[in-house]
Amino acid sequence: MNINFAIKVAPLLLCLVLTAPAAELPAHSLAEFGPIATPAQADAALAKAAQEKAGLVVIPTNAPAAWHPQNLSQSIWRKPEPPAQTKTWGVTKGITVLDYRDGSIRVLVPSISGMQFNSTPLDLGVTHAAATAMITLHNDLIRGPVDAGGIAIDTFARTENQTFDVLAYHHAYSQGASAIYDGRVSYLGDSRSVIYRAQVQSEVEPFHGRVESWDPATQTLRVAGAEHADTLASGRPILNLQPDKIITNGLLYVTGPGGAMLGWGGAIRSSNAPWTREVVGRYLAIDEPSEYVPGTQNVRRWWLITGMAEADGVKQLTVQRHMWGAKQVGSISRLYNHRNFTDAVSKPKLLRYIIASGANVMDAAGSRLLLTPSPHLNFAPGDRIEQAIGPDPFRPIAMRSWIWDSVPGLIPAPVLEAVNAGPVSRSAVMSVTGRTGFGSVINVEQLTENGIVFGAPIENAALLFRGPGRIQWNNYRSMNVEPNGTLTLAVTALDIAGQGVNVNPNIRGLKIPVPTGKTNVVVEFAAPENSASYAAMARPSWPANHAVTEQTREGFTVVFDTPAPAGATIDWMIIR
């Protein structure tokens, strides 16, 4: 880790070096450890300083300008010595290197213990809402900046590790409002600021090149003509793609695993591929353009083959996938194109494939690659090779919050809290956009008292569907509004719990007057029906046989065998 910063502690470090007697301080000029006129000499001097545990080493300004020192001074000690089983261990002393040749202070910290800032206990009275940060950065941008942030962290991880780039632990044994991260923007211009941004990016153009040399005894591979060598890392296999060393004959098909995450229950099969037990330990990729990693020319996903079986002329592979441990599974559950799955074995969707030999990289540091022992490793100078991308990434999560409260507390404490304390409206609390989409926007998989609560006035709609949108219960019961505005309930029945149904005014007429002495009356609807196909019922208010005649879209006629007396009325009802 290099820290290139101009903090005032760095001058402090410098003064300690440059003003105090060397005998009293573990601080030295690099020149004390040998000539430094050339980069090679400077490297040697730095190695000697590390060997002598020189403490703080300052690179003089006359060191070669093109020299980029690396601080590799620190390691782990073990007792007894490796490879015996370790009983005790610890961190060796390293050195800290200060390089201020270009005017900025560059601190090359020891690789394991880094650099530490420790606060002294606050044992004096603090007056009047004082702020007592351990490190304060004041950043005044007045003229010229393009991108002039406060803190930049750039991590390149080329080996397995479990890491929190910024780790902030807060143990609160007393009281007081505390924010682990307090980001505030006060703005006066046409600001376009984001306080917290999470951007996740698949890198899909991996290393490829040719074999320069291969030593099977030491499993050492040297490469030539490398592209994207900066992406080399341990834990991803190097594949031999030399055309005469790969298997591509025949076609395979992949049966769908039915939603299983890992592909248990599915299968990778072929009736005409020349597979034998020899393929175990090699790597399989589907070689169809629709299965290439999008945005690439032909980057494929490779899985380690762990088994091959044959029955009735059909061969079947198992592959290794990593899901909380390495698992041997029968299928690839996440093909890009679901049409590439075979639904019925009688109609297989045949796919091209490649099987190639390869081996996991266990060390990518330095000018060579060390590979894990594997079968069928037949690298030869000139062979085309590539390092596979991870075929089953557990894709990074933008934001996570897990809670372990034990005491209920008085005040509500949501996980995500948004307050608009300003006088103007914001467009949304949460906006979800993009062309690819999401399986779901909100997925609630834990018991809750209420799902979504609208506890404040809503001016327009609590739920607004700008296009077709279905509310669904279980798998088959749903409610949606069709493009013509019809609410469709696809449910077994609608139970209105003994309450009434208020429908359109044409449903019925009440107490329609019938003139005295009349033997018929014409009922006119408030609005025309779509057709005359409806069932009409009428009930006169006096004893009479009656009939409905002459149905039209606008209404119908009721005739009576007994003339209407004074004050006579009818009620009517229609059902389409």
Binding site: V146, Q162, S174, N360, I442, F465, A493
Partner: protein, 618 residues
Amino acid sequence: MKKFICLLALAATTVRGADSNSWVDVRDGTAKVSVPPGGIIVERTFCLPESQSAGHWAMYPMVKLNNDILRGTTSYREWLLEAVKAGKDQKFYVATLRGVFPGMFLNTGDYSGVARLCVKSLGYDEERGLSYLVADTDVDVPVRSLLHNKTHVNALHLETNSHTESQTSDILNWRHDYSQGDTYLYDARFWYMSDVHSTAGDENGVLFAAFVHGEVDGFRGQVASFDAATGQLAFKPSANVKTLGTGRPLINLNPAKAITAGTVTIEGTGDIDGHIRFSADAPVGSEVVGRYFAITEKSECVPGGKDIRRWYAIASVQKNAGGTKEIKIIRNAAGTKPAGAPTLYRASNYGKALPYIIAPGANVYDVSDAVGPNAYRQTLRLTPGPSTNFAAGDAIEQAIGPDPGRPVPFRAEVADSVPGIGPAPIFDIRNSGAVQRPSVMWIHGGQGDEPQNRADQKPPWENILLIESPSQNGIVFSAETTDAAILFRQPNNRPQPIKWLYDGGKKTATLTVSPTNGVMKFDGGGIAVLGGLINLKGLSGTAISAQNLRGINVAVPADAKEFNIVFPKAEPDAEYAVFVELNWLSAQAITEQTPAGFRITFATPPGKNAKLHWIIIR
């Protein structure tokens, strides 16, 4: 000149008025900078000379951390495929060697009985098609043992132990923006090519993780001595000294000094109103003011600990007619409030006679001689109070906060004054990649989520999304949803209702779909269908669905005296009302009803072109 610079640096890192300086310790090669309470200040004024400009698309951070991880770290946790006997050069068969290298530390077993292996070499057993590693082991390692090691190689590690009151932002990032330009206060980008997830036990890559832990196991010990004049209490610790903090009371647990007789009944609803009422036989008088009250009922003890209680300072006592007494306690919610009831874990405990304890105690105001560099002094300083009768040998504990304002993992408070042009949501989520993500927000949990298994007998969440701010629209679906806009999976055959409060919030209208038979039920003030009902299968006034609704223009043969209607689909039984309308004048009657249909008898047989309509309602 050099000394002058040095003095400047020292001065800049010295708290004004305090006799405290920074120092740097590089004795072991690692620079350890000890800063004074005022910390260190790094300043930059970015002001290029006139007519100069920063470079093309350049980036100029004040502090940059470059972190290159090349060799020696790992993230491995896999199960051993075969048992291994103690011995030298033993083969450990594993499902994958991904993450293993010669020379690597490897632990066997998980949280107990761990042996520390050193990987000597790696191998592949061609005959068995299995990979293995070679190491010495002192002990037998059973099959399915976990082999594991994981390395953290952080860029920045910030650890705060807060033992005194403070108002703090651990990382305070304030930006005053008086010009324009895209700006990110916190920009986390994750480029990945690997599987990210390595082996068993991974929690995956996360760009912003907020974990909140309620710590409940507090300090316990014994009084060594107590000086009431100075408030100094010397103690002998027995547990968790590191959790001592100011502002939390030290409770005297000497049984002889506690009051426990009788019972207490809590009347309340969880807020600060309510009553704490003691039975007539409880010896609670005005002398308990200033002492501390806790409920000792098991179900009200703090989960995850042994007999950990929530203690409240007693503010006042009132005697009631009939001999009962009531106290008010101090609760802290936006200020100190005398309160009538605590918030209980279990709603069922309100109104019940519960066991209790009242004990002496006092607030701790200084722990600096109990934790940190002076911890060896094992001394606390207590606030003067009416119940500080500590004596050597008394058992003591420091209470946990009984009413924590639980940490909010993410808060956004906006105070805009100008509307602006572009939309600016609080959470702006976009999938620009080639593959789908399963969800934008996933709310999930582990086992034990059933209310009966939880301390408060409530679901883990009261609400998932609570909208208490006026809005134009609540939730908007402006893009297509290929399956459902809102999907209720109704697990465990429990209905997931939609509810509306009406009549001023006094009544509730509920819409459910039965998870067993798919019946949609609306229980409210009725349904208004302004556009009309269509495709209605039937009408029923009971819980049994009608299978038929009506017949339109059903032809009746001329001269027929009776006519049978056969339903398209049989009803469950003959319990339905029938209405019939003829297109000729005749008295008529329904003379037979069965599940399959009904018979109409006419007083006057029809002529030609006779038709009838019918309707049934169950």
